[in-house]
Subunit: 753 residues, 2 copies
């Protein structure tokens, strides 16, 4: 920032002056960094104000400092304002598109395109301002012998007196450590960037990932658990190593300078960051079109989990590079240590997330904080956020922890919440998710032009595109083939094509790429990643619609009628179960507030519950999985069945008000403890003694149990928890279900019938 | 932070290394600053990890840097975690207190007390770690002649080679400008603080103030507009100057050193920051007890507005000190300039806020974004936040802008929103408000012990307590006397006592005090302010309950029945109007989602709508104002009447779907424009042609008009918009209302009846 035009006269300053603002604002400023074009714009105003004010008799340095701090604050505000307006514009355009049923461009694509436009304007319309820097060295003899640089520098800054006769006065300024200057020539680069990359990991990603966990369709998730885990863990790792190896080979063949400095570790890191797929755009489309639930579950489950895998994997690779290997050559012990890092960090993060989720469930179960929904929601939000912080504080991965915390919150805590809190927490995280997603995609667009650390290398970019596609193919086809060996409802070829095509890259890839842009290789990776993200989101996302058609994947069938024709009574369970999945499984309910939101159309943040029905498509192979509930026990993965059993018998009775209680499931010797952990509400199930307890949630919980029983293979009818809109007719239909269920149902609806 | 125990061997580093994390994390770190006790705790772990890993063959400096960055990140996480847990604890305790009906301690008092406890633990349990700093000077001849310090320093840091034979290698580190070091001896102080004070102005206060505006009970607000404006603007200014003058006199009489350095400007600043009252605690109590609406409106209106007045006033005083006066003596022209600053900043901020609110209203009126509640809510949040940013970017006061933006959003935009968005926006801001409030009060407690810039001076503190009380008394009693001359429902003596007593100091005072702690005087002010806040919130807040009793101010009357006995038919309008105030006046509706939230009990963030009824208290004088609607025209302030008229005729038809339309209110010559600005929905009022338009809002809007008409003195019945729960009975009661209303009502309910 040039401030040479300020009158150079300097007055001596008293030691105690009122410029605390300058200090504190400049601290604030380091958070939101400078944007050159606005700075030049605003500087004129700032300088003009300072120059024109005639009463400028006070300490000029102070005023100039204060003006500068104010200026910086305004620049940051303007900076954020650009993004906020961009988001508002995106929102309005999305509305317009939805209104006119435009399907070839989706919200994230739109955000990226707007971002690109604004980024180009900022880049080419603005002038380039420079930050003033000065080389310093330690005062006197450099006695400081520590190998770490000091935390702060005290710069004794000489100010010349106006009268010129006295010896120069000295003011001491504090400077805070920022980082290493790697390339002394490109000095601007480091300070003219836009947002700190850590903002993504600490502010933008957590709500997105939490919401993904919180709104996961657990039933289908667990039904496809084996496939999802295979794709997410094995597939992502495979893809990362394959892309890494392939990239390394290709780069080494290139004639350019990259081949000399590009290590195998670099390419592995690239493989890890480009492997995770983004749920966002593709699921928004799936949601709009009501695609087959199992396909939906596969894509969602995989993309949510592989984000978690990728962040831990890239961390392990980075660690390997920093701590274990100085040469970049392969070291077996170091590799094994990194591997154990990977697993321990992943599972410890998982455990912390799950533990915090369960803790919240216990808190909400054993207190009656639900009487005060605001308190309850606040508690929920605080506990979820503290999961992230706790994981970060213990050097684990906060993003992974919040994902599993979200899953547990949805599975257990959600059942204990009051109706008000359910809606509120869902709506809050939905909104946060929406804003965060669109912000990151706008930023991807803007940063293509404004982020100074891009490094275009056509060869690398082309190779990266090819490798990304190959990596995705390796992830999908061979693993699908493997899975199909044992899997009862096979993943059909068309579904495999769609899975391949659904591999859009998104927020996580970008965040990992922009986190570290120190070296040329990393900058090249960032450029390639940005382009891949933009391409896949805009082009692939836009084409998904047509591809679904072309692959004849069933979409948008009018569910209820279709189902009734095919499955009669069972279809009712299914459609109810699907349209209100969380009622039975702790999912988020599209609560309609007693019909208040009739005209509400969902804008999915990619993970909504609008997907009403599993349909037997022409392929039939996968869609058939959701046809009848009785086949469940055969179709369900063993893992899922064991977990379901344990969950119903111990976890749910412990953490929610569900039945059977622990008194029934634990061995007799544990009865005293079991009694302690069972609430009165649990024992008196219909909640008649709790005047103020929400009746919906009781049913919901009980229904949970019903579903749990069906997981045990007893075939009980799930999804009876829709009391809000449950008609006599529907209840009667339920009563026609198997005897074991009928008895339960009569218990609940006895009064009604 | 001592890191001397790390093995001092240093290896030469390649120019391109993988330590971007170090840089970016340290940037992040400057935002959340260090906490000494955790740092020492974690440092051990960090160093141990680094020392114990046998494969430490890579560049040690890098690893150490990375470990340090990681450590800092973890410390910040831990720091935040402390506050998050503190908040969760507060939430649970509040629930316990509410559950057991404890009334002598309220949530804010609780947050403060917990904060104090945790602060004491942190202070006395932790050890003191120091930050390493080093004095530097410009390299070579100091040729840099600008009077501003450079933005960044490049520190050429000499690293000694391990083999010791080569010349020392040099790494360049970047350091960012932080602020001036005022006292070279107290070097720790500046860096061991907890949160940056600007966090309060940029993150914590905006949602609190916005929510205050968004949930203001505008009807009572406008009815008491004259009194509120008098108290807020005249009273606060008066109180600020009086406290300032008094403090100055007292301090000058003190024997201590303060008297020499304490300028009149300093004491004025103190007057400005201690004058604003906090709505929070006292309104929470009023809400719980259902105190007289007019008293409620007076206290709320005053405390919301005087926050805005105080922030602008203190800014003007600061400006006067910095820009216009170097001596601290009085300068008439400078004073006048500051005065014009004060008014221009206040009113420009007001205008920006109002303009953005109206813009949002226009957006929501002329698009059908309401079909997609998520988009609509996102737009609402984005526009509200951009108001803050816009004001800050144009050097105005963001907090004042969001206040008036909130008022406009509630008054106009709210009517255009879909039911879902109404709930969602209200709930989101309610939660944000709750979290922000409790955070700031926890922080007040914690910072009493951890913030290093406290300066205890018993004399000053005692004087400050006395002055604060006198200032409040001067604000309340003489102005009430003046107001009572013309005011029809007089403010009774007991009400005046309550107003005096309700003058708790809170978030705004603290934020202003902690913003600037450069000098000893400012630190003394901070200490005094913190103590006043703690005292008033805990002691006065706790005693308010008893005082209300003692002053015989009517509380907790069972509204509906009481009202029916007193006013028969009219009372129904009133009670409906009050329990669903926004239906008629754009207030926030306690939407019950068709009975879903039956067991919801409100935990007020101080500004809820639970206050169901205006009651004629024993005093009668003020409470009577809300008795019958027909008396309105006589009771209403002239200002409020003029505004109401203008609002109904032009603003509401322009910005909402209300009636009469602009076609009816504008002169005939403007018809083409009026037609353009009138929606079809507005013309066809009952909305039958809009299949997907929420029927509730139509009624709500029309009802708005009904209320508007009553403001015109026609006495139309307000509050018929409760279709959700409107029974036949109630409708029939409405039909018994005056003819003018009956015709309108029949129009709406014709189909139903």
């Amino acid at each position: 920032m040039s401030h040479g035009d300020v009158d150079p006269e300097v007055v001596m300053t008293s030691p105690h002056r009122i410029n605390g603002d300058a200090g504190s604002r400049s601290r604030w400023q380091t958070f939101w960094k400078l944007q050159s074009w606005q700075s030049s714009m605003l500087l004129l105003v700032g300088v003009a104000v300072c120059v024109l004010v005639p009463g400028c008799s006070a300490t000029d340095t102070d005023i100039a400092l204060d003006a500068k701090a104010t200026l910086n604050h305004r620049i940051q505000s303007l900076d954020l304002l650009v993004f906020v307006f961009l988001l508002a514009l995106t929102v309005l355009t999305i509305w317009l598109f939805k209104h006119h049923r435009v399907s070839w461009l989706h919200e994230t694509g739109l955000a990226v395109i707007y971002g690109l436009i604004v980024g180009a304007i900022i880049r080419y319309a603005g002038t380039s301002a420079t930050l003033v820097h000065i080389q310093v060295e330690p005062q006197g003899v450099p006695t400081y012998s520590d190998k770490l640089p000091p935390d702060t520098l005290w710069f004794r800054y000489p100010v010349n007196q106006t009268n010129g006769t006295k010896a120069p006065d000295v003011i001491t300024y504090a400077y805070v450590f920022r980082g290493q200057v790697h390339d002394v020539d490109e000095n601007e680069i480091d300070l003219k960037a836009t947002f700190d990359p850590e903002v993504f990991f600490n502010i933008i990603l957590p709500p997105i990932i939490f919401y993904a966990g919180y709104s996961l369709k657990k039933k289908y998730f667990f039904r496809n658990l084996g496939a999802i885990l295979t794709f997410a863990i094995v597939g992502t790792t495979l893809s990362a190593f394959l892309i890494g190896g392939f990239m390394y080979g290709c780069v080494k063949l290139m004639p350019k300078y990259l081949s000399s400095s590009f290590t195998f570790l670099d390419s592995l890191y690239f493989g890890a960051l480009i492997s995770p797929t983004d749920p966002l755009t593709i699921l928004a489309i799936f949601n709009d079109l009501r695609v087959d639930v199992n396909l939906y579950a596969l894509v969602l489950g995989e993309s949510v989990l592989n984000d978690a895998v990728a962040i831990v994997l890239s961390g392990a690779i980075q660690n390997y590079g920093e701590h274990y290997s100085s040469t970049g050559d392969f070291e077996t012990t170091a590799f094994l240590r990194s591997l154990s890092d990977f697993f321990s960090i992943f599972f410890l993060s998982l455990m912390i997330g799950a533990a915090m989720g369960c803790l919240t469930a216990l808190m909400t179960k054993f207190t009656r904080v639900r009487d005060f929904p605001l308190l309850e929601s606040a508690l929920f939000v605080l506990m979820s956020y503290s999961t992230f912080l706790l994981a970060e504080a213990t050097e684990l991965t906060g993003v992974v922890a919040v994902l599993f915390c979200g899953i547990c919150q949805a599975h257990y805590t959600y059942n204990n919440l009051s109706e008000d809190s359910r809606q509120r927490t869902k709506q809050i995280f939905e909104l946060l998710n929406f804003l965060a997603e669109n912000f990151i995609f706008s930023y991807i667009g803007v940063s293509m032009f404004t982020f100074p650390k891009h490094h275009f290398d056509a060869g690398f970019i082309i190779t990266a595109f090819i490798c990304a596609a190959i990596g995705r193919a390796v992830n999908v086809y061979p693993l699908s083939w493997l899975l199909n060996i044992k899997r009862k409802p096979k993943i059909s070829t068309n579904f495999q094509h769609m899975l391949f095509f659904a591999g859009l890259r998104g927020a996580m890839s970008f965040a990992l790429a922009i986190r570290n842009t120190v070296s040329d290789e990393r900058q090249t990776m960032l450029t390639a990643t940005s382009l891949i993200v933009i391409f896949t989101v805009v082009i692939q996302g836009g084409a998904a619609n047509f591809l679904l058609n072309w692959l004849k994947i069933p979409v948008g069938v009018d569910d209820e009628t279709e189902q009734l024709n095919n499955y009669q009574v069972h279809s009712v369970y299914n459609s109810m179960d699907n349209s209100h999945p969380q009622t039975s499984d702790g999912y988020l309910q599209d609560v309609e507030g007693g019909g208040v939101n009739r005209n509400k159309m969902r804008l999915s943040g990619g993970t909504d519950t609008n997907l009403d029905t599993p349909v037997d498509g022409p392929n039939g192979s996968l869609g058939g999985a959701s046809g009848g509930r009785r086949r469940n026990s055969h179709e369900k993965a063993i893992l899922a069945r064991i977990w379901g059993n344990f969950d119903t018998k111990y976890m749910k009775p412990l953490l929610t008000h569900s039945r059977p209680t622990l008194l029934e499931t634990l061995p007799v010797c544990c009865n005293p403890i079991a009694r302690l952990l069972t609430t009165t509400q649990q024992l008196t199930q219909d909640g008649s003694e709790f005047r103020r307890v929400d009746s919906d949630s009781d049913i919901c919980i009980d229904n949970d149990t019903g579903n749990g029983l069906s997981q045990d293979g007893t075939g009980a009818a799930p999804g009876v928890g829709r009391r809000n809109s449950l008609s006599r007719m529907e209840i009667l239909e339920h009563v026609q279900s198997p005897v074991s269920t009928r008895i339960r149902l009569l218990g609940f609806y006895g009064k009604k019938l």
